[in-house]
């Protein structure tokens, strides 16, 4: 199992470690609920070094990305990031990723941990097919450490060790700066539904940054948070997880990512998307909350009037909402908010209701965009 540069620190912090996508990662330090609540009310710090970073640089870098990403990158400014899907020819999702524009013809693409190698090969193959020999593609994941700092106190904490003011930084924008004297990329973004930052720095320095943030943040209520809280936070915020809500057989239109597809430009998969847009989708991702007692989990079957209509992709008890929620794939006719569905839990059908996404939205005053 692969270890992140923060592995020893997790042990010192008494974390429970689990395997995730081939990595040994902290699932919790104290309890999922404590870490979840700390992130919503103050801040949580997450080791995200397992995720991948791929750098593209040189003439043609933009054309290459335009040809393989569903999102239109025309008009993206240096310092701006964009969420996109990288589809296969059938429209299935190879990965969902964020694209940082570092400069003209210079990008960093941030991948999921499990898809890093696949993405790298796919991007290299596309470059070769398109004859864009001027683009250098480097997998910089091993040299790049990543920490997510999330929650309403994140800015106050990160500011203590960051050069330059974070206040003007808008949502889904980033700056090249120094954190603890180390060259870093800091973006206002994340995976929890809170204000917060994703911090990228040399993997040899990321441990010291982690320590300095913990030290600076402790008086403000910062807690180290594991993958357990990361999962409950992202589910409440209506954010999808690769391998659960997305894979190579699922298209963006079937989940909530139709807005990431721009059919005004040509790219791999666009023909499949055109066809699907005309014909409509057969299955669709919905959000649900349990109306009877019970917690639906990944893989549980979903019914409507005793007919099986789909399955749960992620389900959990939601600490902020105090109820059980989740995502499910259901066939087309049952997706409307308010629809009653049944979820089979240990052989018993338990009532749930389709609800609009996201399940949780942070108070408006905290929005920065």
């Amino acid at each position: 199992m692969k270890k992140t540069p923060l592995f020893e620190r997790h042990r010192q912090l008494n974390a429970t470690m689990i395997e995730f996508g081939g990595w040994c990662m902290p699932v919790q330090y104290t309890t999922v609920i404590e870490e979840h609540r700390a992130t919503r009310s103050a801040a949580g710090i997450f080791d995200i070094c397992h995720m991948g970073e791929i750098e593209l640089r040189g003439p043609g870098a933009k054309d290459l990305l335009q040809g393989i990403m569903s999102r239109n990158l025309e008009g993206q400014e240096t310092g701006q990031m964009k969420l996109s899907v990288m589809p296969n020819t059938c429209g299935g999702i190879i990965d969902d990723l964020t694209i940082y524009k570092l400069g003209d013809e210079h990008y960093m693409v941030v991948t999921n941990a499990v898809t890093r190698e696949t993405d790298f090969e796919w991007i290299c193959q596309a470059r070769n097919e398109k004859g864009l020999a001027g683009v250098t593609i480097r997998d910089i994941s091993d040299d790049t450490g990543k920490i997510d700092l999330q929650g309403p106190k994140s800015e106050a904490i990160l500011q203590k060790i960051t050069k330059g003011s974070l206040a003007p930084l808008r949502f889904y924008h980033f700056m090249n700066t120094e954190v603890l004297g180390t060259a870093s990329i800091v973006s206002r973004s994340g995976y929890t539904g809170e204000d917060g930052f994703e911090i990228y720095a040399d993997s040899r320095r990321i441990g010291e940054i982690f320590d300095a943030l913990l030290h600076a943040g402790e008086p403000l209520g910062l807690r180290p948070a594991g993958l357990g809280a990361r999962d409950t936070l992202r589910i409440e915020a209506g954010l999808l997880l690769y391998g659960h809500e997305m894979d190579e057989t699922i298209t963006p239109f079937e989940v909530i990512y139709g807005w990431l597809v721009d059919l005004t430009k040509p790219f791999t998969g666009c023909e499949a998307f055109r066809k699907q847009r005309e014909e409509g989708v057969k299955k669709k991702l919905i959000g649900f909350e349990m109306t009877d007692r019970g917690i639906a989990r990944h893989g549980y079957r979903v019914f409507s009037n005793s007919r099986e209509i789909g399955h749960v992709t992620s389900g959990t008890f939601a600490p902020t909402l105090g109820k059980a929620i989740g995502f499910a794939f259901v066939d087309g006719a049952h997706e409307g908010a308010g629809s009653e569905i049944d979820i089979e839990i240990r052989g018993r059908k338990v009532k749930a209701r389709v609800v609009p996404l996201p399940f949780y939205r942070r108070p408006k005053a905290q929005n920065k965009s």
Binding site: E34, G228, R293, G294, T316, F317, P319, A324
Partner: protein
């Protein structure tokens, strides 16, 4: 650290306790060590009163945020009472696993089954060994 396991009751390898109430009735629950491993318990599925069970069959289910775990009956018999408070306060098991967090009362078919369970000292030795 887990609270010490009281010496007034018996224990299973699966981390349940059984307290003999006399008249052939036991109260059962999970140990403090078990609740520490599970962390935040957010849901408890209780058995129906009148349910007949065999020793070490699943009698209840406890769920944390991340996990679903069966709770096994330390004895064979019939469920005669359940701790209904757990439906709205599942965290009682985290707070007081050996007391207010009890799960069910069972009328035993064969009270001699209790002899097959561990004493507190044996249970403590078992979890100590597993922890290292």
């Amino acid at each position: 650290m887990a609270k010490p396991s009281p010496a007034d009751r018996k224990y299973t390898k699966e981390h349940e306790w059984a307290l003999d109430r006399g008249n052939g009735i036991v109260t059962m629950g999970i140990t403090d060590h078990a609740q520490e491993l599970l962390t935040d318990i957010v849901y408890v599925e209780l058995p129906k009163i009148g349910k007949k069970i065999k020793q070490m069959e699943a009698v209840a289910v406890v769920e944390s945020v991340k996990s679903v775990s069966d709770v096994y009956s330390p004895v064979s018999g019939e469920v005669i009472e359940v701790n209904g408070r757990l439906e709205s306060e599942p965290e009682l098991i985290n707070k007081d696993a050996f007391g207010d967090g009890w799960i069910a009362r069972i009328r035993m078919d064969q009270p001699t089954e209790l002899n097959s369970l561990m004493e507190a000292s044996g249970y403590e030795a078992m979890i100590k060994e597993a922890g290292h």
